[in-house]
């Protein structure tokens, strides 16, 4: 049953972007596109061959594949409730964070490889925001490892029990930080705007401007995959009851659906932050992770107020 996580994440990734688009259309009073439209787009792109600029090297060509593979690898360490992922070892959350970073590193290299001033700008921004978001993620995961005294995702999640008010606070805050980290990692509002057509304001979108065909399909599908990966993490935070497996699976899809709707709603009723304010937005997440850290210290009676 170790393959279960991978299958569930792959299934959720198929409808995730469609649900976000549907939500955004619904709340702005527009007719929504077919929820399966992203699937059709990926399929259309996947059948096309890629075109490479003469000015690019092999880095540009392997970047999308490495980026996609890194996300698949990261998914392997994530458990589904009490079912282990395909991989599980001590310290696998560090592996999780850095295998994703490796993918991003190659994507950034690929963008720089084109020599375009736009892509250079986008790569610069993406590197900065990834750098800034790292402390938030690590303080969060580190705090959880400290509370549960384990360092693999599977052990952390199975050992986590919500019983005191402080632990509920930690669970809530962690879910919030994870939602926000997912928004940033997937280049959504308020850091980035996936719908913009203006290169000068783009972060992630401008980095993939020169990719085409199968490569582009991979990069676009990778976004959906990343989203459902974070959805799975959030689900793992919220579970705490031993349920019959089909119910649990149903609950999982419910969580993914609500997560997608939530992202659609978060994006609909606000403007994007100014680019120069983005670091401040991300620092707030780090601050919240520090709150989680102190909450964890209180839980363990190592720190009293």
């Amino acid at each position: 049953m170790q393959i279960l996580t991978l299958v569930l994440i792959l299934l959720a990734s198929l409808f995730f972007i469609g649900v976000i688009n549907q939500t955004k259309s619904f709340v702005s009073g527009r007719k929504s596109p077919n929820p399966w439209q992203p699937l059709k787009d990926w399929w259309r792109l996947a059948r096309k061959s890629s075109i490479y600029s003469r000015d690019t090297s092999f880095i540009f060509q392997i970047a999308p594949t490495i980026s996609f593979a890194s996300i698949l690898c990261a998914i392997l360490v994530i458990p589904f409730d009490n079912h282990k992922g395909l991989l599980s070892f001590e310290g696998d959350f560090v592996f999780f964070a850095y295998i994703l970073a490796t993918g991003k590193f190659f994507l950034i290299l690929g963008a720089l490889d084109t020599g375009s001033s736009f892509e250079g700008m986008g790569a610069n921004r993406e590197a900065l925001y990834s750098l800034l978001v790292e402390p938030a993620l690590f303080i969060l995961l580190g705090s959880l490892a400290m509370v549960t005294d384990h360092s693999s995702f599977y052990d952390i999640f199975t050992a986590m029990h919500f019983n005191t008010s402080v632990s509920f606070l930690i669970g809530g805050l962690s879910a919030y930080v994870l939602v926000q980290v997912a928004m940033i990692e997937n280049s959504r509002l308020p850091i980035d705007d996936p719908k913009t057509h203006l290169e000068l304001t783009m972060v992630h979108e401008v980095m993939v401007l020169d990719h085409s065909g199968f490569d582009l399909a991979m990069l676009q599908y990778a976004n959906a995959l990343k989203f459902s990966m974070y959805g799975m993490l959030i689900f793992n935070f919220l579970h705490n009851i031993e349920l019959w497996l089909p119910f649990k699976i149903l609950m999982y899809f419910g969580v993914q659906y609500v997560f997608a709707v939530l992202i659609g709603l978060l994006e609909s009723f606000r403007a994007r932050a100014a680019m120069q304010r983005n670091p401040e937005v991300i620092f707030v997440l780090t601050a919240m992770s520090i709150l989680i850290f102190f909450g964890a210290l209180i839980l363990m009676n190592k720190f009293s107020i």
């Binding site: 955004k24 709340v27 702005s28 009073g29 527009r30 001033s117 736009f118 250079g120 700008m121 509002l189 308020p190 705007d193 719908k195 913009t196 057509h197 203006l198 290169e199 000068l200 304001t201 994006e267 609909s268 009723f269 606000r270 403007a271 994007r272 932050a273 100014a274 680019m275 120069q276 304010r277």
Partner: protein
């Protein structure tokens, strides 16, 4: 039309006859005294030093064996337009002292003269090509060897945007010199859409052809430009359109202003990724634009303005329909805008973004919205009233701050004022019939005519000169964008490069109106 002896003793020549016009008018070309360039220079520098005066247009055209140059100065205090002229021999090495040195706002006109006739204005900061017109004097100047401004530095980088726009609107090239994310300098290069509009006015002799041409100068300002053209023709033909025609044109101009401003507000929200605002205002723009379809058969009000008459006079029944639509619009519009403009995330993006000062706008001679958002009162509807604005004036709005916030708020205020003006005047419409003139009088020989209107972007100025046979010998169009593109470049100084698109949209200047 009226000529008078200048009362101003400080003018150089003893008795310079000033040619004065209202918002539109025609005079025999010989009534405009041809000055020496030295006198012309002194007069212009003196007049333009007055903040109440600004240059509407300054251009040259071949006249007999010489180049005749005309400058039209608007005097906002006396509600007049003064016309000055000088003549140059056709020669290869013309050198004149640049007025731009003292009055920077003249830079664009002198660049245009230099491009078209090869005049070397010494003292001009930079005589680079304006639009690379096909009939420019030096054909070796091309887009390929365009003299871009460059800063030689290891730590700076250049970002070139365009000429193909990401949203495939109109082409223009923007070159940024950046220090990281900060723009140090923005250079805007246009001309990709040069169609030779001014030449086509001369080439096509039929009035309908010319009217359709005027409608196509800038597709989003069809009423503004066509009305200016109609006024030029009417001034030359001594036609006085009846009150219904004037009222119809005025209402169309204000409805156009409302529709475009609403669409622009929607686009501003798109650029800061505020989805709800952009979706709602996009929806609200549609009935405004579509009303023109019912009124005249074209969503962009093409066909609504014709020389001397109103082909589709707005009937009371349709006017009532418009009134109802405006009531419905107002409720939804205010609900959305009150929410949107008080939203912290929107405020954070608009406020202090792309600031320009009143002094800067005064210096570069900004007109229309670009002037009013920085506190510079320039509105032809007030200073040189035309159409129905003569009988019933409209309120104009001034903003301070000169940032995206001021530009958004100015649009907001103008939408509400135009709506009120429309609603006040719709009940005054009487059932009317098409009053098509059977024939038009011939144009008088050797006349100069000028007309001004205030389109939604700002002041539009059209000028025509007829030859000895009464044919149009030269036609000149000036879109407000001619003055205002520099305002965008100034707004972008020391701005974050990611804030450029929202600034560009907040000015929303015309590419084709500039390129002609």
């Amino acid at each position: 039309m009226d000529t008078r002896i200048s009362p101003n003793a400080s003018f150089h020549t003893d008795a310079v006859k000033l040619t004065l016009l209202q918002s539109s008018g025609a005079v025999p070309l010989e009534a405009i005294p041809v000055l020496d360039y030295a006198d012309f220079y002194d007069l212009l520098v003196e007049r333009l030093a007055n903040p109440e005066c600004h240059c509407l247009t300054y251009y040259g055209f071949p006249w007999r064996n010489e180049i005749r140059c005309l400058a039209c100065i608007a005097d906002d205090t006396h509600h007049t337009v003064e016309v000055y002229a000088y003549a140059l021999p056709k020669s290869d090495n013309l050198r004149l002292e640049a007025i731009s040195e003292k009055i920077p706002a003249m830079h664009i006109f002198e660049r245009e003269l230099a491009e078209n006739f090869g005049i070397d204005f010494f003292g001009h900061p930079w005589l680079k090509p304006v639009r690379l017109a096909w009939n420019r004097s030096d054909l070796s100047q091309t887009l390929r060897n365009y003299p871009f401004y460059a800063i030689d530095s290891e730590s700076l980088h250049e970002v070139g945007v365009g000429p193909i726009h990401a949203g495939v609107i109109e082409p223009g090239h923007f070159r940024f010199i950046c220090n990281g994310e900060e723009i140090l300098h923005l250079e805007i290069q246009l001309g990709y859409q040069h169609r030779g509009v001014e030449h086509l006015f001369v080439q096509h002799k039929k009035l309908t052809q010319r009217t359709v041409l005027a409608e196509s100068i800038a597709g989003d300002t069809a009423v503004g430009h066509t009305w200016a053209f109609a006024q030029v023709m009417e001034a030359l033909m001594h036609l006085q359109p009846d009150e219904t025609t004037e009222l119809n044109r005025t209402l169309a101009l204000e409805l156009e202003r409302m529709a475009i401003h609403t669409g622009d507000m929607s686009a501003l929200f798109v650029d800061v990724a505020y989805q709800l605002g952009s979706a709602v205002l996009g929806v609200l723009r549609t009935p405004l634009i579509n009303f023109f379809q019912q009124w005249c058969g074209n969503r962009f009000a093409k066909g609504l303005v014709r020389v001397g008459y109103s082909p589709y006079p707005l009937q009371p029944a349709l006017a009532e329909q418009l009134d109802k639509m405006l009531i419905a619009y107002k409720a939804r519009y205010l609900q959305m805008m009150e929410h949107a403009l008080s939203l912290p995330s929107v405020q954070a993006r608009f406020e202090k973004n792309g600031e320009v000062s009143l002094a800067q706008m005064q210096t570069i001679g900004a007109v229309g919205m670009a002037a009013r958002m920085a506190g510079l009162a320039r509105d032809i509807r007030i200073s040189h009233p035309f159409g129905n604005f003569r009988q019933s004036p409209i309120a104009t709005h001034l903003k301070e701050g000169g940032d995206v916030w001021a530009r958004a708020h100015l649009r907001h205020d103008e939408i509400l004022t135009s709506m009120q003006y429309l609603r006040d005047h719709l009940p005054k419409l009487q059932p009317a019939v098409q009053n098509i003139p059977t024939s038009y009088p011939a144009l008088p020989a050797e006349h100069f005519a000028l007309a001004l209107t205030e389109g939604w972007r700002g002041e539009i100025c059209h000028c025509a000169v007829t030859d000895q046979h009464g044919e149009i010998a030269h036609y000149k169009v000036k879109d407000p964008s001619m003055h205002n593109w520099l305002a965008l470049a100034l707004a972008c100084r020391n701005l974050d490069i990611s804030d450029f698109p929202v600034n560009n949209k907040s000015f929303n200047l015309s590419y084709c109106g500039f390129d002609l």
